[in-house]
Amino acid sequence: MTSLLAMPRPDSWNFPLFIHVLGAMILVGGTLTTASALIFARGDVRLLRIGYWSLLLVGLPGYLLMRIGAQWIYSKEGLEDAPIEEAWTGIGFAVADAGALLLLIALILGGIGVRRLSSGKGTGLLKGTMVISVLLLAAYVVAIWAMSAKPA
């Protein structure tokens, strides 16, 4: 396994991998900002807005970059038509695809919530966004562990 860690990969895989990892890092950063801003907002409209817009303007582009990079490198490895056999690949796809759905729900809930803030409502919906963000962060930690340690 040690030799596998040091194993070089073809140069043509580097750029898609870079896009994948950079996107994932931006996604995690955006989600962490959202979760912490919404947790500490305690009704403060400005922090609630910061939390939501972080997910939309940082988290979502990060997700798209991560997912494009993932599919790109997957095709580079010639695995697109092969069944998903490795546990780490399965975990990666599960978190990415289920995470996309959760991210979308969080964005919709938060979007409605932010619109209602001006009329003194919407904090409940943004709490939903906060809970989903925390769940997403936990899932991302598992995915990062799986992507790096590559359990059989």
């Binding site: 995690v28 950063g29 955006g30 962490l32 500490f40 922090l47 991302y140 990062i144 790096s148």
Partner: protein, 159 residues
């Protein structure tokens, strides 16, 4: 899974924590540019703490687990160009990050002083401190160093 696989996972989780912390700061830097009240500035303190913990844990974790892997994994040498480059970039990013923190803490300190003095309204001096150009440049430079570090880690020049 070998012990080194776990260390690699911790190394990468640390890298993610580091970058996530930097992104938290980016959002705060943008948000604080329109903040001219002590209360508005102070309310961001808990989120600042999240960013600080992310960058601190990430910076320590990347270097500790990274050095472990360098000495433990066959095929890597501490004098490999990409590893030396990574160490230099890590040190530069950390140094710049520390200076960024000091630049932005001036605004937070001013906000706390104003708050303690009972001045709750908009304050031009506070706004100027929150819009520190020096802090923005330092954070940009620190982010570029981290981006180069990621490029170095993936392409491993000279490996």
């Amino acid at each position: 899974m070998s012990f080194d696989d776990w260390i690699l996972a911790l190394h990468l989780l640390s890298a993610f924590a580091y970058v996530a912390g930097m992104i938290v700061f980016w959002v705060l830097i943008v948000a604080v540019r329109r903040t001219d009240t002590p209360d508005g500035t102070i309310r961001m303190a808990p989120v600042v703490k999240v960013g600080t913990i992310g960058t601190a844990v990430g910076a320590v974790g990347t270097i500790v687990f990274g050095l472990w892997l360098t000495f433990s994994v066959g095929g890597y040498r501490i004098w490999d160009f990409w590893i030396i480059a990574a160490l230099v970039l890590w040190a530069i990013a950390g140094w710049l990050g520390g200076r960024t923190g000091k630049a932005y803490m001036e605004g937070m300190t001013k906000a706390q002083e104003l708050d303690a003095a009972g001045q709750t309204g908009p304050n031009a001096e506070l706004l100027a401190l929150n819009r520190t150009q020096n802090g923005l440049l330092l954070h940009t430079a620190s982010s570029i160093a981290l981006l180069l570090l990621l490029i170095d880690m993936i392409w491993k020049p000279g490996a």
